[in-house]
């Protein structure tokens, strides 16, 4: 214990040092690459649109957050459906997952908007969020299914032996253990979701990529819009990954 504490400080210092070295190396390579192609920056043109940019970012965050919550719900539902005893339920969920994973999100959004939204008179944002959530939920359900099925038969038998009902078995034995195994895959999928939300622009949702595109065509800029866009995405996705790793640490126990 004592020696671990003493080792922790040089460990952190070493990481920081290497981080700085790598940052400078990558940063200067990029700088030289950009100066070599003689790109003409027009930051003033981009700066004028900062408020629009932030508004778009807000929309991206809102849509992503809503789709994240919904997608996990869909993920759990599809996963349970694929394990259900009733054959039609199982077939339906397996079919939905395969079709949704096997077709482009772009097409799903267009069908969702032009057919479903028109049919029921739904708002484009709502349809966009739901389609995105179903799309990511299909992937999540496979991550969840892998995690749930990795909990061994002996754990299920123990749960039965102490008298847990099937519901209690899921609640107290399977989900808590599966959660930890599903975490790394789930984080990756949620990061994907945030980036995939850029496709909502095709049905006219004014999210951040859409805003950058309008700005680029109005102010004759290009990278001045896209580079801040990339940084904005990183500012959202990196904390998400960091938070997930902390969670993994909290759930860590040996099996």
């Amino acid at each position: 214990m004592e020696s671990e504490k003493n080792n922790a400080r040089p460990e952190v210092a070493r990481h920081l040092l290497w981080g700085a070295v790598l940052f400078i190396a990558v940063g200067s390579s990029l700088y030289f690459a950009f100066s070599a192609v003689h790109y003409r920056w027009n930051w003033q043109g981009a700066w004028a649109y900062r408020q629009e940019f932030l508004r778009g970012l807000g929309m991206t965050l809102l849509a992503s957050l809503a789709a994240m919550v919904l997608s996990m719900l869909f993920g759990v539902l599809f996963m349970l459906g694929r394990r259900a005893r009733l054959v039609p339920v199982r077939l339906f969920c397996a079919g939905v997952v395969e079709v949704v994973r096997g077709t482009p999100l772009l097409v799903q959004l267009l069908v969702g908007y032009y057919v479903v939204a028109n049919l029921f008179g739904l708002d484009r944002l709502i349809v966009g969020i739901v389609v995105l959530a179903v799309f990511e939920g299909a992937y999540l359900s496979e991550i969840f299914r892998g995690a749930v099925e990795s909990i061994g038969a002996s754990q299920r038998e123990s749960a039965r032996a102490v008298g847990f009902s099937p519901m209690q078995t899921y609640q107290h034995v399977i989900f808590p253990q599966a959660l930890r195994r599903a975490l790394p895959g789930t984080t990756g999928q949620l990061v994907s979701l945030i980036k995939d939300s850029s496709l909502l622009s095709v049905i006219g949702v004014e999210e951040v990529v859409q805003k950058v595109r309008s700005m680029n065509s109005a102010a004759y800029t290009s990278l001045e819009g896209y580079l801040p866009l990339a940084i904005a995405y990183l500012l959202v996705t990196l904390p998400l990954s960091w938070w997930a790793r902390r969670l993994e640490g909290r759930f860590a126990y040996e099996t």
């Binding site: 038998e157 123990s158 749960a159 032996a161 008298g163 847990f164 107290h172 253990q177 040996e254």
Partner: protein
């Protein structure tokens, strides 16, 4: 207790784990040992007795009461039993205390503080004082198995069913666990035990069921069985096990 089985059959795919098992113990059997070669049906019979498995055919009676064949009835019956398995099968994400207390709260509707007190008391009784907060991976095999016994005993089960509880343990830990089982037996706990520890069974059991190939070859008072096993199979089994000890 009196255990009775009538023509019990249980199949897994093409393999009959129990193939018409029939026996009846004396009415006052306190500790019943299931003996016999591996693959003979001991574990399956134990699971049927404990309502973890429902047989395909035949019936099982405990003290004259037929065990239910439907899942809802089996769940209620399971809640009156305690199980200990070969691999310790504690819940790895819960502490030793939580492994004992959680089923008490959720299954037996005990208040949180009462469940915790019961857990602390039982763990201490099984020699695990001070280990309450440890997760299974932080305990030795013998400690894990004793925690598993504590979990099984917590709701004061009518029947404690042990499925080769020491097969995964080294000799020292085996002794730790068998000491606990012997104390329980001496304290009047009704036990059904599947085991290869013949000398332990000889000391503790008062009834022996000897199984091979899914059938009950012998069902007799332990004393009689160990003094003069009736079947050649049982003779060979006992000789084989005592060769190196």
């Amino acid at each position: 207790m009196r255990l009775e089985a009538r023509d019990v059959t249980k199949r897994f795919a093409n393999h009959a784990a129990l193939d018409g098992a029939t026996f009846s113990t004396a009415g006052d059997a306190g500790v019943v040992a299931l003996l016999g070669p591996s693959g003979g049906g001991k574990s399956t019979l134990l699971r049927v007795l404990g309502c973890l498995l429902v047989p395909d055919a035949g019936e099982v009676l405990i003290d004259g009461e037929t065990l239910p064949h439907d899942e809802a009835g089996a769940l209620l019956a399971r809640r009156r039993n305690g199980f200990v398995f070969q691999g310790y099968n504690l819940f790895p994400h819960l502490s030793a205390l939580e492994n004992v207390a959680l089923p008490l709260r959720c299954v037996h509707s005990m208040a949180a503080d009462a469940a915790e007190a019961r857990g602390v008391e039982l763990l201490a009784r099984l020699g695990l004082e001070g280990q309450e907060k440890k997760r299974p991976a932080e305990m030795s095999g013998g400690q894990q198995q004793r925690a598993a016994i504590a979990r099984a005993l917590a709701p004061r089960p009518r029947l404690l069913l042990l499925d080769e509880p020491t097969s995964a343990l080294d000799p020292v830990m085996t002794a730790e666990v068998l000491d606990v089982v012997r104390e329980l037996a001496e304290g009047g706990q009704q036990i059904v035990l599947a085991t290869h520890e013949v000398s332990f069974a000889r000391r503790v059991a008062d009834w022996v069921i000897f199984m091979a190939a899914g059938r009950v070859e012998e069902s007799r008072p332990a004393k009689e069985f160990f003094e003069a096993p009736g079947s050649t199979l049982a003779q060979q089994y006992l000789e084989g096990l005592s060769r190196y000890r």
